[in-house]
């Protein structure tokens, strides 16, 4: 299994994340124990409502470092993702009409996995944009 990707469930829907964008994942119950580089509590952001998806109980937090601070993105579940035979996933570009229509830069592409279009989320961009919003 390749170590470059994470599979996560947000609002009941699966997504793909580049592992290098995430410093680590922790159970939601432990997020409050984690501090950022300046010794501050992490900014916690529930990802499902941010993506317009149904709010579901979050069990995991992806710790995403940005230039300013580390953000904890709360998700339903997360796990390592890999293809059989250690194949590298072929990420297709976001369809042009979709890329044009969305009001954000959070989509990094689409991976067809078992005939399902798994969307690649740029969690670093999401974290950066979340920091621009009031806590």
């Amino acid at each position: 299994m390749t170590a470059g990707w994470l599979h996560m469930i947000v609002g009941g829907q699966p997504f793909l994340v580049q592992h290098r964008q995430v410093s680590r994942t922790v159970p939601v119950a432990r997020v409050a124990e984690v501090q950022d580089e300046r010794g501050h509590a992490l900014r916690q952001v529930a990802l499902a409502p941010l993506l317009g998806l149904p709010a579901t109980p979050a069990r995991h937090a992806l710790l995403v470092p940005t230039r300013r601070r580390t953000v904890a993105l709360l998700v339903e579940a997360t796990d390592l993702f890999g293809l059989e035979g250690d194949l590298e996933p072929l990420i297709l570009p976001v369809p042009p009409l979709i890329a044009q229509a969305v009001g954000h830069q959070w989509l990094g592409g689409v991976l067809i996995h078992n005939d399902y279009p798994l969307q690649l989320l740029d969690v670093r961009q999401i974290a950066q944009d979340a920091l621009k919003q009031p806590a």
Partner: protein, 158 residues
Amino acid sequence: MLWAQSSDQTLLDQDRTYLLFRIGDEFFALESSSVREVLRWREAVPVPGTPPLLPGILVQRGTVYTVVDARRLLGFEATPATRASRYVLLQLEDQQIALLIDEVLDLVLLDRTRLEPVPATLAPQRARLLGGLIRTERALVALLDAAEVLAVLQAGGE
């Protein structure tokens, strides 16, 4: 044959094959050259941040298609999909589009010499997307202009 206009089966220069479909109580047709396939309805995978006109994406034969709700595109009230709902898979320039329609009816020959202009009273949102109207034995059929459909979608659906 209820929809066919040509008096015999001979393909005339002015005859072209169209996919006939229904949205609400109205009938539309798309030139078959842009149609790749027709699919039974299945739930599209939502993409965060897309407008209701683009309910999501789906995969068919290894290709990702952008789902377009034809009801919203043509100014109809949005309704849930039914057992008769279908996706018409289109290749429009470099775009792969899955047009969600209420029901596929037939593949027919239509005589373009009988094309009538779009009424001036028709809502501009819909009029822009039509290449004309053709009367068949059964009903009036509006020809959807695939190039205009793409242009409208690229302009944000307006």
